[in-house]
């Protein structure tokens, strides 16, 4: 069997809490999975599901209660392995008294680059994340999106083979999300392994070779996003403008109105009929989209399926 | 083999070795710093008023701390057999300014500021100053009058003032008859061994501070010895009247049937007859040195 880029075996984390830390809460239970070399792996789950815990365990920011993990064949206890991995923390925050240039230079020093190499690498990175015009500004003046980009730059600064990104798209505007997506795709083209966590389904669908879904500290499903997340569309949504006095369109009874704009939901089968009616009423159609279940709904569905299975087993056992 | 256990053992051993090293080194440092310590006795702040302001609302606590320092200072000097107690006044001055109700500090000061070296600082005037301040701040505390009387009586040899102090104290409510008796006795006789004995005895029985009590005990021993010497001299005088010549040794008195056996001083050394056939403590007695000093005063 070939060696995966990241191999996780039975990894668990208990958090003590409450009075004198006497109570324990499992935030990760027996996680076993692999991320193959060169693949982009999406870690999906609602907030607090254990994605960040897993990533922090891999980065040895916290220590497992049980289990082991290897990255590039080396135990995560081995610090030298960190020379070939990059990490972007969730909602990254960096030394705000440094400029982007100084911060990247500071981090580059830990990778043993010579002064010339450092300045060359830092310049390339700043350009790559689109910050070369802002490199002389202290990070305290950076917006959230800019911080995210600096964070990305420091994660890939040293040409790592494995890149781990914790919620890389959160808090970004659409343009920013797109830039991050482009960077991830570029990393994939360059043959690197990328593990990133997100709670946004579309991000995972667009980028990942495979995804793992984690809920309540347990891995609930793993596979290509198509097979895992191909949920039936639950209907369509139309956004349209209608000026003047509306006629008696049947659609209007289902629509919510904001000024001259209307938003209506309807089953897919009625879509064309409705569009024809709107056309006849000379409405301006702005947007037609598929309504997909939110990730939370998907997770709820997973949990319920689990429960149903459990009770079925119970019944058959009797 | 358990990697972590080995790690832990090595670390534990290193920490232990480190602390042993620190301990040994500290002993060296302590000896080296004694040279510095002696020069270091001075108070950083000599002004009670400034001290009080700096203490904010915590003056009583600071007063207590200074009082502790006074005891430490005195104890330290005592242990080192040093006689120079010139810091005692500033420390007590600050302690009682910070907390004017620090009764024990006045008592302590009355004894050890006033008593002659090596027991005290030999500064009865400072003791009087301190006690007068104590009386002003705590007018109901009649024992300060007793202390004041003692200072006048023992160290300033001013029997009029001593008698007045006892009398003033005696007028306060709740005072024992002892105060009035002492006032009358001192007014009539000035200094007498019996009065001294009574004063020290009362202090010995009532003192709450152990240094003060110990000091009274030592004085009692000396006064008792003086009384015994006086009795021996009377016997020697009787011997001289009888034999027309002065006895030169204690055994002469015993042989003449005036004394049964060899009398011993409170420390257990036999008394001797010295110059001019006067009774005195044995040259080997630990009490002799202080007795000689007492004589000179």
């Amino acid at each position: 069997m070939t060696q995966g880029a990241i191999e996780i075996e039975n990894l668990s984390k208990e958090y003590p809490y409450g009075f004198l830390n006497l109570k324990k809460k499992m935030s990760l239970e027996g996680l076993t999975m692999r991320v193959e070399d060169g693949e982009v792996f999406g870690f999906l789950g609602p907030n607090g599901a254990g994605k960040s815990t897993t990533i922090k365990l891999l980065m040895r920011l916290i220590f497992p209660s049980a289990g082991t993990a290897r990255i590039l064949g080396k135990s995560i206890d081995d610090v030298s392995m960190h020379g070939s991995i990059g990490y972007l923390p969730e909602q990254p925050y960096f030394y705000d008294y440094l400029t982007a240039h100084e911060m990247l230079d500071y981090f580059a020093r830990f990778h043993g680059l010579t002064a010339n190499d450092r300045s060359a690498r830092v310049a390339v990175m700043l350009k790559k994340v689109g910050l070369d015009t802002a490199k002389k500004i202290q990070l305290r003046k950076y917006s959230k999106g800019m911080l995210q980009r600096v964070g990305l730059a420091q994660a890939i600064l040293h040409d790592p083979q494995v890149v781990v990104l914790d919620e890389p798209m959160s808090g970004l505007d659409p343009l920013g999300r797109r830039e991050v997506r482009d960077i991830i795709l570029e990393l994939k083209r360059e043959g690197r392994t990328v593990l990133f966590s997100t709670h946004v389904l579309s991000d995972a669908e667009m980028l990942c070779d495979r995804v793992g879904v984690i809920v309540g500290g347990k891995l609930r499903g793993m596979g290509a996003p198509g097979e895992l997340l191909d949920m039936k569309a639950q209907g369509m949504e139309i956004l349209f403008e209608l000026s003047g006095v509306p006629g008696n369109l049947p659609l209007l009874t289902k629509a919510t109105r904001t000024g001259e704009r209307y938003r209506a939901q309807l089953p897919e089968t009625e879509l064309y009929e409705a569009l024809d009616a709107l056309k006849a009423a000379s409405a301006r159609i702005l947007l037609v989209t598929q309504i997909k279940p939110t990730l939370e709904e998907y997770f709820m569905h997973l949990v319920e399926a689990d429960r149903a299975q459990a009770s079925a087993v119970e019944v058959s056992g009797k | 083999m358990n990697h972590r256990a080995i790690h832990g053992t090595i670390l534990g051993a290193a920490l232990l070795a480190g602390f042993v090293g620190v301990w040994k080194l500290q002993e060296k440092v302590d000896t080296e710093r004694t040279t510095l310590q002696m020069e270091n006795d001075e108070l950083a702040l000599r002004s009670p008023a400034v001290m009080k302001r700096l203490s904010l609302e915590y003056a009583p606590l600071m007063g207590a701390i200074y009082w502790t320092r006074a005891v430490q200072y005195f104890g330290g000097k005592h242990q080192a057999h040093e006689q120079n107690l010139d810091q005692l006044w500033p420390i007590l001055d600050i302690a009682t300014t910070l907390d004017p109700n620090l009764i024990v500090a006045y008592h302590f000061g009355a004894t050890f500021l006033s008593d002659a070296p090596p027991r005290g600082a030999g500064e009865p005037d400072q003791a009087v100053m301190l006690l007068e301040r104590g009386i002003k701040a705590n007018p109901e505390h009649w024992r300060f009058y007793q202390d004041l009387g003692n200072v006048y009586y023992f160290d300033k040899k001013d029997y009029l003032k001593a008698s007045q102090a006892f009398e003033a104290g005696g007028r306060l409510p709740g005072t024992p008859a002892f105060m009035k008796i002492m006032a009358a006795k001192i007014a009539a006789e000035g200094e007498s061994l019996e009065t001294s004995f009574a004063l020290w005895m009362d202090l010995y029985q009532t003192a709450t501070n152990k240094d003060v009590r110990k000091n009274a005990e030592d004085h009692l021993r000396l006064v008792k010895m003086e009384m015994e010497l006086r009795a021996l001299n009377q016997i020697a005088d009787a011997y001289e009247r009888k034999t027309k010549q002065r006895a030169t040794r204690i055994s002469d008195l015993a042989q003449a049937g005036l004394l049964s056996g060899q009398p011993l001083d409170p420390e257990g050394s036999p008394y001797v007859l010295g110059h001019l056939g006067r009774a005195e403590p044995n040259p080997k007695s630990p009490l002799r040195e202080e007795w000689m000093k007492e004589k000179k005063r």
């Binding site: 990490y87 440094l98 981090f107 | 090293g21 620190v22 710093r33």
Partner: protein, 258 residues
């Protein structure tokens, strides 16, 4: 070692950009005011007043910086999670801690040296000359610096396992306890049973004896300080700091970051 150096340099940069060195302005004003005032009073102990005030200010300001900066610069990295990205680099946790320590000591050294220079300027302006005894002031400043390094180590240790507020409290408490440690050994005038006395003696040796670094009393009055005092204090500081940092490294390497 290169990693330690890198963290140390950055820590120094952080302290400077945090405007820590601004306290020097306060010190300069204090010394200037004192020099002028003392010149006016002229009671024969101008030099003593300048030296004692200067050394006290160097010590007090230094202690404040050592405690607050020592605690703040480590706990801030954990609170704001700036540490996360750093620890994902090939850096061991003890390297980070040691780097912080040396960076803070570097900051305090620069700060203390600047204050010492200010003190000498004030001395010169009062006496219009520097005496031979004034060289001992430098010894006193050196010992203060050793003391500050030890305080920083303690601050790092405490901030490794507790909240910043408690860490500040513990460090300050340890300093005061350490100052009084010597008295625990030489109690006079109190009667205690031998067991308690032995325990007190033991504790007094284990606490950091901060009195070891105090030669102010002698230096203020222009008296000399033996070389032995200086090198023993140096050895003591190095040994104690090593112990404390080792403890801190052990605690910190096992700590789960939130």
């Amino acid at each position: 070692m290169r990693n330690v150096q890198t963290v140390a340099a950055n820590t120094f940069r952080e302290a400077v950009r945090d405007r820590v060195l601004y306290n020097l302005v306060f010190f300069a004003l204090l010394m200037m005011g004192a020099a002028i005032l003392v010149g006016q009073i002229s009671i024969g102990i101008e030099r003593d007043v300048i030296v004692s005030l200067g050394l006290t200010a160097i010590s007090v300001i230094g202690i404040f910086i050592a405690i607050f900066l020592g605690v703040a610069l480590v706990s801030r990295e954990m609170d704001k999670r700036t540490l996360y990205a750093l620890l994902a680099k090939p850096v061991k946790r003890w390297e980070f801690l040691l780097g912080k320590f040396f960076g803070l000591v570097m900051t305090l050294t620069v700060n203390t040296a600047a204050m010492a220079a200010g003190l000498y300027i004030a001395l010169w302006s009062v006496n219009h000359a520097l005496l031979k005894s004034d060289t001992y002031v430098l010894v006193a400043v050196y010992l203060i610096l050793l003391k500050l390094a030890l305080i920083v180590a303690l601050a790092l240790l405490f901030s490794c396992f507790t909240t910043p507020f408690l860490a500040i409290l513990f460090t300050a408490g340890m300093y005061v306890a350490g100052l009084l440690a010597g008295d625990l050994r030489t109690v006079h005038g109190v009667e205690l049973d031998p067991g308690t006395l032995r325990l007190m003696r033991g504790i007094s040796y284990l606490l950091p004896n901060f009195e070891n670094f105090n030669v102010m009393g002698a230096v203020v009055h222009g008296r000399g300080v033996s070389a032995a005092i200086a090198w023993q204090a140096t050895l003591y500081a190095i040994l104690y700091i090593a112990i404390v940092l080792m403890g801190a490294a052990v605690v910190f390497s096992r700590r789960n970051l939130k």
